[in-house]
Symmetry: C2
Subunit: 451 residues, 2 copies
């Protein structure tokens, strides 16, 4: 195994999950990781909460430091090293040592591309000025924090109402900034149907976020390279700091240049074993595509849990084992202010696009027995195939202990269960946890009348 | 429909779920409910929390009063009426009006037996003295409260460490009583494997409950008809109040006398449509048996959620529709002090009895991302079939937001999923809700190594 060198590009979730798995399977193998920042294996998803002041310091988000990987797993962690090219013919990568700017070639026998994603920004005029931030890496989170401390901005504009946008809106409200949010669609959180997204929009407004819906970003105004305003198709919003929350795009330029096949949103195309289109090259995490288990289509979803799973699968296969990544169904949960939001499966606009006939029902219930202290509102929407009743998707907005109920829907949906099957499930009931009918089953009972 | 008289015996969860369903299906039908207490459709499961002081008054536990059933659903609610005999030949029941002690016959065309369950008490010498209580009805809960207020007992002994026993132990500790608990088995909560039950035993001891494990009830000592002590095979425990928490038995005497077939623990035998062995007679709720979806055996489980589901199925079929109760898998959740407890499927002793080969794994994780405020410990145990990896059961003990994760296991298990399938599920992840691998998936990852 000494001559079977594994090179991993990217030292976060997918890359390190894979490298760690290979190490456990092949104790003597040479494993090198090139990471362009100073940080390995961290929780980027934790950054909004850290900026909000809920997590004491950014270091707490680091699951395992480069030193730990070196010491405990004998993984050669090359920090501040950026891979700038993949030379497939010679099975080597070109690496720039960012400490001194020198470049060198490093050979590989097997290569894992785990380059992650970056915040999406539409093609607008002018360079991105100071004070405009995305949030996709620990380094970018630390930059935002430094900016908040050094510049004491007062007016924040969030562009885009996805998970990161909303979590950052809350974080900056907590930090006493005056926060506006520009949203292209009818409601924030467009992974929900508009009727459910409306509940989230309302919750944001309740904590004082100024919402500008159905407005498109046109550009930024700047003064001496510092952003001063966000310009939309309808107004100019003064801004001392801007957060881009319009989703992410795969960091797949490197892979593309090397001739690896790309797919949806330029994510790297992979098979179930995380093989790319090229021999001896795997990809995993936010830079790679996933297969949607319901539609069989390729999708690009940036999420730590998917990156970890893909990394584990890639690592198992690279390490000589056999594993398959079964795909995703678009499950996501989020906490915005005091409300919890969750979704899984397909939403109305996706079903419309696919031309799949569906029915839906939305119910309001309580998170606990109505008389139990802390029983709060929960709204559940379910979607299912017309006639067969096969579950297509679910969405939840509610108080504490609402969101993770989506896992029941996600599991049932993955199993191909119908609405009737869901009603028949023996779910946990006791007054502190649920009404006698779990809210997802109450929704199913409403939905079955529509089928 | 005027001549098609439905008589329901018992006005709690199953009976009223059925009666309400029939009313919605058949607006003109005559529906009579005989209930021997003053209360209809209440949450008996809420009583321990009410006694604990968490729920202001017992009335809050009433989902719908007899008046509401009369007014809104035109159901003839005969309160304080006890059915003492079923005369199948003449299709009538004998009813005693407890207000005046008079007896009369009431005809039925269809009959639903929903007589519930009662606390189990082993056959011990002597009458049950004052101060000894079970907790199966709202009336019994109100009696306990009255006793607590009138008699100001100081020493409580709970006999039996099931859900009711443990919830009452906590309730009485909250009411500042000195609480002992006598448990026949090695650990409390024998629906968990002993290693998981141990965690619950420890939590109880932490709040000050004195545990006497592996001790059997022999009898009670009394003074002027008032209980003064609980006698076990190893000691005599002084007691001003005693709570029986040794599980329940179906109230099936009436059904038995009428010649209805009984089964496990004398529960009324029913088919999937809730038909009993006799024409025109249905049974539902705590008095009836259920089919276990994994073992296909009949089981008796007293739970409000099952009673509601069975009632709905019975009502649908009585009302001329078609519905099936698919059975149970033994899912249960409970909150004892600050810890949450959950279980589903089969435990080790059941698998041993069945001779089914199994493997198990237990892991400790966190309820949220480790760095997120409020991340607490959670222990998850999973059991699966040896070789095939098909899920057999799961058990959870942990902090806030632990218990309802059992629903994921329950759903996966019902779908016949394997441990590998569980690992592949796309479950909700965000730092406030879960580590990147949900704890049930972390348990699955540990278990897959054992298969």
């Amino acid at each position: 195994m000494k001559n079977n060198r594994l090179v991993v590009i990217g030292g976060d979730a997918a890359g390190m999950a894979a490298a760690s798995k290979v190490r456990r399977m092949q104790p003597d193998r040479e494993i090198v990781v090139f990471e362009r920042t100073d940080y390995s294996s961290y929780s980027a998803c934790g950054m909004p909460y850290q900026i909000a002041g809920l997590v004491e310091k950014a270091d707490n988000l680091i699951v395992r430091s480069p030193e730990r990987f070196r010491e405990k797993l004998s993984i050669d962690m090359q920090m501040q090293h950026e891979v700038v090219a993949i030379d497939r013919d010679k099975q080597r990568v070109e690496v720039v040592d960012r400490n001194n700017g020198t470049s060198r070639y490093e050979p590989y026998d097997q290569l894992l591309v785990a380059t992650g994603a970056r915040p999406f920004c539409p093609d607008i005029s002018g360079e991105l000025a100071d004070g405009i931030f995305g949030l996709s890496t620990l380094a970018s989170g630390i930059k935002i924090q430094k900016f908040l401390t050094d510049n004491r901005p007062q007016k924040a504009v969030i562009v885009g109402g996805g998970y990161i946008g909303l979590e950052m809106a809350e974080a900056l409200v907590r930090q006493k900034l005056d926060v506006s949010l520009v949203q292209r669609g009818e409601q924030v959180m467009e992974t929900l149907d508009p009727d459910m997204g409306k509940l989230v929009s309302e919750a944001l407004e309740e904590i004082g976020v100024k919402l500008y819906r159905k407005e498109e970003l046109r550009g930024f105004e700047t003064n001496e390279k510092q952003v001063t305003a966000v310009v939309t198709d309808r107004r100019t919003l003064p801004a001392d700091i801007v957060i881009l929350g319009m989703g992410t795009r795969p960091n797949s330029g490197l892979a593309k240049d090397a001739g690896l096949e790309l797919t949806i949103k330029d994510a790297i195309k992979v098979d179930e074993q995380m093989n790319t289109s090229c021999d001896n090259i795997w990809a995993a995490g936010d830079c790679a595509a996933s297969r949607h288990r319901l539609t069989e289509e390729e999708v690009h979803i940036s999420l730590g849990t998917i990156a970890n799973k893909q990394g584990l699968v890639a690592g198992t296969n690279i390490g000589g084992g056999s594993a398959i990544f079964p795909g995703v169904i678009g499950t996501a949960v989020s906490k915005i202010c005091s409300i919890e939001v969750a979704r899984t499966g397909l939403q109305e606009k996706e079903l419309d696009r696919l031309g799949w006939k569906y029915v839906s029902a939305t119910i309001e219930a309580k998170t606990r027995a109505g008389y139990f202290p802390g029983a709060g509102p929960i709204t559940v929407k379910l979607l299912a195939e017309k006639r067969s009743g096969r579950l297509f998707g679910g969405q939840i907005v509610g108080d504490c202990c609402s969101a993770k109920r989506i896992d029941t829907v996600a599991t049932a949906l993955t199993a191909g269960m119908s609405v009737e099957d869901l009603i028949g499930l023996d779910l946990g009931y006791a007054p502190p946890f649920s009404p006698v009918w779990d809210p997802v089953q109450t929704a199913a009972r409403a939905l079955i009348k529509e089928i």
